[in-house]
């Protein structure tokens, strides 16, 4: 019974995708807090539409609501794709308002920020289960990529049969180690970039057009 249900769901997903070729694909930008997701979303949006998506900050959980930029047309190497970029809050399993106090925040503001952050993470998980057609998973290439949240999220994405590209961000920093990310998740293609400095964006756009078209 479970097998038949799984088979029916798989066929249904494939059919849905076949018949929605002309619709913009909703591509979720996921990753841990402070990986540079909003910086990347803004870079893509500015390059192809002229507008930004949201404010960037070094303070964790700056993005506390999923934000969507619709109808972003990306064209590279003869391939063209129209996507809705969904910039999501960084996913975590814990939020402590005291961390925000270290960023010169008053307690009330820190508590409010932590509450909004928890709502944002829950929202991001809901989008992942229900509302995205593909995922760009952004990692800070100066940090260990094998964290539990990364392992869990990539497992969740794989279980949804969603196409995923892994972006090793912050290669402008000296401590960046892209190979560590590529070795951690060899089942997926890893593309290096610096969203802040705009490094390697040609390859980024070529991969987006190729993967999500």
């Amino acid at each position: 019974m479970g097998l038949l249900t799984d088979l029916r769901d798989s066929i249904s997903r494939v059919v849905d995708r076949l018949f929605s070729e002309s619709e913009p694909k909703r591509i979720g930008i996921y990753g841990p807090p402070n990986a540079g997701k909003t910086t990347l979303a803004n870079r893509i949006a500015r390059d192809w539409t002229g507008d930004a998506i949201g404010p960037e900050s070094h303070i964790p959980h700056e993005t506390r609501r999923a934000r969507r930029k619709e109808n972003v047309e990306i064209e590279r190497n003869g391939k063209k794709v129209t996507i809705d970029i969904v910039d999501t809050p960084g996913v975590t399993t814990k939020v402590d308002y005291k961390e925000f106090l270290e960023h010169d925040m008053e307690k009330d503001d820190a508590v409010r920020r932590s509450r909004e952050a928890t709502e944002g993470v829950a929202e991001a998980m809901h989008w992942l289960r229900e509302d995205v057609d593909g995922v760009i998973y952004v990692l800070d290439s100066t940090k260990d990529p094998i964290s539990q949240v990364n392992t869990m999220l990539i497992g969740i994405i794989e279980s949804q049969d969603l196409p995923v590209l892994i972006f090793a961000n912050k290669i402008d920093l000296e401590e960046a180690n892209v190979e560590r990310i590529a070795n951690a998740y060899p089942q997926h293609e890893t593309v290096e970039l610096s969203a802040l400095e705009g490094e390697n964006m040609d390859e980024v756009y070529a991969k987006i057009a190729e993967y999500f078209a």
């Binding site: 799984d6 975590t92 399993t93 814990k94 402590d96 539990q148 392992t151 279980s159």
Partner: protein
């Protein structure tokens, strides 16, 4: 489940609950999540012999976020062994996108458990009292 807790016994320790795969097999996803979070919110370390499915992990994060409360509950620390790249899955499992969920999983309160080391064969964690 034990009736007495560590504090009931007059000891100032940390309770560890190990749930067998059989114990979890008959529970629904939400029953599993409730069992985990109720234990963790009591300050216990919960160990699952066979872990959760990706969908259950996703829901666990979502429910955990809903329950975080300042100065009371900061969330969870969760660790499983990284899934081995050579882990055998049947052709049908790969075709259906199914993943084995049989991975030992350790879950505890974020403010009481700290992972010291993790690789494919070992999870080493430091657990502190409440």
């Amino acid at each position: 489940m034990p009736e007495a807790t560590a504090s009931d016994n007059g000891t100032d320790g940390v309770q560890i609950d190990l749930f067998s795969g059989n114990r979890m097999a008959n529970l629904t996803s939400m029953e599993k999540i409730r069992l985990i979070l109720d234990g963790v919110r009591d300050g216990n370390i919960v160990i699952l012999e066979e872990g959760l499915s990706p969908d259950e992990e996703s829901k666990l994060i979502e429910v955990t976020m809903a329950e975080i409360s300042p100065d009371e509950f900061n969330g969870i620390e969760i660790e499983t062994y990284p899934r081995s790249q050579t882990a055998d899955q049947s052709f049908l499992d790969r075709l259906m996108g199914r993943q084995s969920t049989q991975k030992l999983t350790v879950i505890g309160p974020a403010n009481q458990i700290q992972t010291l080391h993790k690789d494919e064969n070992l999870i080493s964690a430091l657990v502190s009292r409440k």
